[in-house]
Amino acid sequence: MEAFREAFRLIVTLNDELMHILGVTLKMSFASVLLSCLAGVPMGVRLGAGKFRGRSLVMRILYTLMGMPPVVAGLIVFLLLSRRGPLGSLELLFSVPAMVIAQVVLITPIVTGLTASVVAINAPALLETANGLRLPRLTKLRLLVTENRTPLVSVVLAGFGRAIAEVGAVNLVGGNIQFKTRVMTTAIMLETSKGHFEFAIALGAILILIAFIINIAASFFRGDSHDYG
């Protein structure tokens, strides 16, 4: 219980290293979610909007990618960025950009899939009206996003929740270097294995808090309250 008290003290005194780790985590997560959404939302909207040739194949590929074990994604990115690998000359391994790359590989399929299912709900009705008005293609796609903006916020939040929770891939390609690529999840692993439980507990508490806030916000935007109302 001594450890819990010490952990509380670390948090309220805004311990330097703790804040640094939090900073790196948030930086990496924001970047990952931003890129994943920029890629995933348009693709998801297109998928959810309606049938096109090859749609079922794309869906199958999407589901397979969503089921990708995170650490395998980490391995693939590691091999690509390693000095002896094809992209080794970029010298990106063991850096925050490398972690973002691995995260984008993992989160984009999730964002795409969730966006597709969100959009598919009102897409038929929306498109019928839009086609009746003879709206141009880009306007139709933009409409699908804006008309669904509330549930789409929950998709972004889900992506963010996924980003801050990732351990395996991020540990592999980031290297868990102190003050450089150490994020909350990988720090918890290290500090626990070193027996520094106070630090691990402080990190864990903050992580759980963030995860809860994200999930509550996401369910709010998703409109869960209506179901249970």
């Binding site: 290297g175 102190q178 003050f179």
Partner: protein
């Protein structure tokens, strides 16, 4: 019909996974088949010995080599966990280990003096070396000792990978920095990478970053083919690395397997085993990875 076959396939996969899980849970798999037939002594009362050792010993492959020999001869089940020496010794404190094989003299002496260990028994040693990029930008190779090499690396702000995990190697590295009157700060010095990993992983990282690193010779040699970094400074006086065995004391943790720990120590320190240790690595790497005392 298609749905039925799909269900059958899934059921088979689950059953296979279940059986595989049961098997590996029960026995303690070893990589090499023991050459001796049956244990020469009767099965011991408490057959499980938890040995907490360091990554530098484990990554060199020595324990993988000795474990099946020990188990075949004594009938014990040796369960080895490897961490940095700091964490390995912490497991002894919390009662999660029966015997320690570590290399952090000050921490070991503290462990024994506080009553957690019976006795510190140094039995084998090797040397740390400084490895780094082949072109050696810091000119570490010509240095008189490790402290001088470290100073050159720091002055040139050449990338240096530190264990950063309270291990024996880490403690040694810190001692050398202290001898060079330097205190690299992972927060401010961007060339100093505190990795928080085991020896093997740190060597991989140093290789990737073309960085300098303090490593034990054993682990380096066992990974030689995979590394582009080379040994630049070897066997300087300030780099001797002594390994010790410590049986955990029942005084602080009554559930410790004291007999098992003693049996392991006796086996490890008998001449036959010491000879094997002194030979380990010769055929594979052209030189022995460890030297034995006495």
């Amino acid at each position: 019909m298609k749905k039925r076959t799909l269900c059958a396939v899934f059921a088979l996969l689950l059953a296979f996974g279940f059986l595989a899980g049961c098997n590996s849970g029960g026995s303690n798999e070893t990589t090499a088949a023991p050459t001796t037939a049956a244990p020469t002594t009767a099965a011991p009362a408490d057959p499980v010995i938890r040995c907490s050792t360091t990554t530098s010993v484990n990554d060199s492959g020595l324990m993988g080599y000795l474990e099946p020999l020990f188990e075949a001869e004594t009938g014990y089940d040796l369960q080895i966990t490897s961490n940095g020496s700091g964490a390995a010794i912490a497991l002894g404190r919390s009662g999660d280990a029966d015997v320690l094989l570590v290399h952090s003299k000050d921490d070991e002496e503290k462990f024994v003096s506080e009553g957690y260990g019976v006795e510190r028994i140094p039995f084998m040693f090797n040397f740390f070396v400084i490895a780094g990029p082949a072109d050696d930008p810091a000119a570490a190779a010509g240095s008189a000792n490790a402290a001088e090499a470290f100073k050159k690396i720091a002055d040139g702000k050449n990338t240096f990978v530190s264990r950063g995990d309270d291990s024996g190697t880490h403690k040694k590295e810190l001692k050398i920095w202290k001898a060079a009157a330097l205190t690299p700060d992972a927060a401010k010095d961007t060339w100093y990478l505190s990795a928080g990993k085991g020896m093997g992983d740190c060597l991989t990282m140093a290789n990737e970053q073309s960085a300098y690193i303090l490593t034990d010779k054993g682990t380096f040699l066992s990974m030689k083919d995979k590394l582009d970094i080379k040994i630049l400074l070897a066997e300087s006086d300030d780099m001797k690395n002594t390994y010790s065995l410590i049986a955990c004391s029942t005084a602080k943790n009554p559930d410790v397997n004291a007999e098992g720990a003693q049996a392991f120590i006796d086996w490890m320190t008998k001449q036959e085993t010491l000879d094997k240790i002194a030979e380990y690595g010769k055929t594979q790497y052209g030189e022995a990875l460890f030297s034995v005392m006495k």
